[in-house]
Amino acid sequence: MKALARLSVLFVLFLLVGCATTGPKFTELSSHITNVAPNLGRIYFYRTSVLGAAIQPEVKINGEGVGKAVPNGFFYVDKVPGNYEIMTSTEVDRKLSLTLDGGQTRYVRLNISMGFFVGHVYPELVDLDVGTKEIQNCRYIGKDK
């Protein structure tokens, strides 16, 4: 019974460590983030859920790694206007395709769903008002982290 209690404490500790994303909050950083150039578009990636905190797959845009799906974390990339495929891989690949215009800002939320062995992280395009609201308490993790 004692062993079970220790295991539970260890498990909770493991989860909390996973949640402890460092870096400035979006609210603290937003005034320092430069506006997107008119010839580029910006994609914000963020993850609000701490469920499955240990699962932090790489986020790829058109096959190129740009960051990680860190719980309570966010990062952004500026890209030339065009079509993009965003992919996260756990035990399966999950893809999102989107268009990006010059000067446009888009928000991609990194959600988690049930999997067989591990949870699946999947990218979802969300409305501007939803993205701007939900990203507020996320912490900047930088690109390629």
């Binding site: 993009y84 395709s97 268009t99 395009l125």
Partner: protein, 135 residues
């Protein structure tokens, strides 16, 4: 002990089948060619919210008062896009989508990146207002 040797291959097969099941939901897509319009003739404003259910089991809501700009034509109807809301078609993967209107009904979605048409099993009448472009 010997009698139970079948358990391992059966377990492996079970795992394989489960792994396959994750990718089983796909969006029905028909390749189409979009005749783009650089001189949009009109746009639409949706007067009432409309919710449609897709074959994949997911539903999508087109919000009231959203404005949809004409972007071109495919064989299935006129294609309109909006900046007022995000519209995607979802199954195992998610695709950004535009609406396709024919005879004042939403007949499906145009997927601009995949260049394909995803039909609705039941076209839905939309309460919309045409907005003529000012010259």
């Amino acid at each position: 002990m010997k009698n139970k040797t079948w358990i391992i291959p059966m377990f492996c097969l079970f795992l394989l089948l489960n792994a396959c099941a994750f990718d089983i939901v796909r969006v029905k897509q028909i390749p189409v060619s979009l005749e783009s319009s650089h001189n949009p003739k009109s746009s639409l404003e949706l007067q009432e919210e409309a919710t449609v259910r897709m074959e994949s089991g997911y539903s999508r809501t087109l919000k009231a008062k959203t404005r949809w700009e004409y972007v071109g034509k495919i064989s299935n109807g006129d294609v309109f896009k909006t900046k007022d809301q995000v519209l995607t078609v979802e199954a195992s993967n998610i695709y950004e989508a535009y609406i396709v209107i024919s005879s004042e009904k939403l007949v499906g979605f145009y997927l601009p990146i995949e260049k394909s048409f995803s039909p609705l099993s039941e076209p839905k009448v939309l309460n919309m207002m045409m907005i003529e472009r000012e010259q």
